[in-house]
Amino acid sequence: MKPFAFERPASVMDAAIAAAVPGASIIAGGTNLLDLMKLQVETPSRLIDINRLALDRIEPTPEGGLRIGTLVRNSDIAADIRVRQHYGVLSRALLAGASAQVRNKATTGGNLLQRTRCYYFYDISKPCNKRRPGSGCAAIGGFNRIHAILGTSQSCIATHPSDMAVAMRVLDAVVETIKPDGSKRAIAIAGFHRLPGSTPQVETVLERGETIIAVRLPPPLPGVHIYRKVRDRASFAFALVSVAAVIQMAGGRIQSARLAFGGLAHKPWRVPAAEQTLEGEAPSPAVFQAAADAVLAGAKGFGSNDFKIPLTRRTLHAVMAQATHS
């Protein structure tokens, strides 16, 4: 770690102002930031500790949804009985992530903003456009088992590693922020994360100093909630592919289908066309395949991650079969 100054602002507003100073970084749970600071992948000169701000509540919203403060720990969201009963996909996704120890510390905002697990990003002696723009992408042509097959660019093929974000994407959550000038905004999760393009170092639409204060969940979605995480060991491993699904059946047909994917792209991946393919149809392998075709349109493997294409197809099939099984 490089030396840094440590600050503990007294309000959210002060936090945003402090975070806007060049070199400043907010620290929440610290489970991602410190991991990266130890390897000097991140080298903030100021750490802004927001942990003692009153942003740690889950409250009902007037619309019938929930508002989750950014400091609510991942395990507390997962354990909240309202989330368990009405947003099962979110609870399950959170419980699929990391370890209990990490989840007890990890926060809502920190989870959304966690950085990629790309091996080369983690090693500052290796080229990486995300870490050092213009230095090249070592993952292309290298080992890329965990890398993206959708929405990639010539600059970067990293994935966003979060499980929680995938569930939030399927639920159409909204990220609430405050900017250093005091203004607030609500950012739909669909537009929150960016694709790498030619600037993989810019991962979200947040502006300098803009601080997450909460994530809002719309009213609950009826139907079967599933979070399927495919990984290399039974627990405590990142997703190779994950599927967050909320499927509602009516009269033997798929009434509504919402599907978001993790492990495939620089952001949680959701394809409306795939959902439309399913809606109104009776479940069948052919219908599932058509949906998979739509999800995988334009998919491209980079060698060690080629398997993700058939794996996504098969996992989607399995999830749909499970969700539509009467």
């Binding site: 490089k2 030396p3 620290i27 395990s75 354990a79 990391a98 007890n104 510390k105």
Partner: protein, 209 residues
């Protein structure tokens, strides 16, 4: 050894404290080798019921504060990146990885380590059960396993679900062996005492139930 610039850190949330300033190029200039200093912070750590006032480089992880400053070496460093669980301690009763947090973040908060679990000479039921069921070999993951298990049993009692909980809506999921295994998966044991650890946890859970 030269003393760094210090600032006292408040525990309230009402004020802004600048706890230290990183030495810019000027700060180091002119000083001879080994004498450049990093601004330090004063932190009050409450560990196992005792309070310790420490002057620390703010970079100090909670784990290093325990091991290197308080000589509480029971908490182990297996990876220093949240990947093994050897450093698991209880913060406000909840298990966390002490390696992935800074001591300064926990000013004033109660921390329990393996050294604080026993009641004098009387071992904590988990500690006794680990011995009885041979829940360890080399012992290096053991403090973490035991602290983690202590936190896990509390979580389970509080009704927290896990990834393998069949029905999330069930307010009090039963603690099956599969549940124990999933919930303990953040603690790697390379000696692979796993079956024995599960047996030990089950035993301790039954004692407390």
């Amino acid at each position: 050894m030269p003393v760094g610039r210090r600032a006292v850190l408040g525990t309230g949330t009402a004020a802004v404290f600048i706890a230290g300033v990183a030495p810019g190029p000027d700060a180091a200039a002119g000083e001879t080798r080994g004498e450049a200093t990093v601004a330090t912070v004063t932190v009050e750590l409450h560990v196992n019921g005792a309070s310790h006032r420490l002057t620390l480089d703010p970079r100090t992880t909670l784990l290093d504060a325990l091991r290197e400053h308080l000589a509480l070496t029971g908490s182990k460093k297996g990876c220093d990146h949240g990947q093994c669980g050897a450093c698991t301690v209880l913060l406000d009763g909840r298990r966390i990885n002490a390696c992935l947090t800074l001591a300064v973040l926990h000013d004033g908060q109660p921390v329990t380590t393996i050294e604080g679990l026993a009641d004098g000479e009387t071992l904590h039921p988990l500690q006794a059960a680990f011995i009885e069921h041979d829940g360890f070999q080399c012992g290096y993951c053991t403090s973490g396993q035991i602290c983690s298990a202590a936190g896990m049993l509390e979580e389970s009692r509080a009704g927290m679900p896990s990834f393998v909980t069949a029905d999330l809506a069930e307010p009090q999921p039963p603690l099956t062996d599969d549940e124990i295994r999933e919930r303990m998966s953040g603690n790697i044991c390379r000696c692979a005492a796993y079956p024995n650890i599960v047996a030990a946890i089950r035993k301790a859970a039954e004692i407390r139930a």
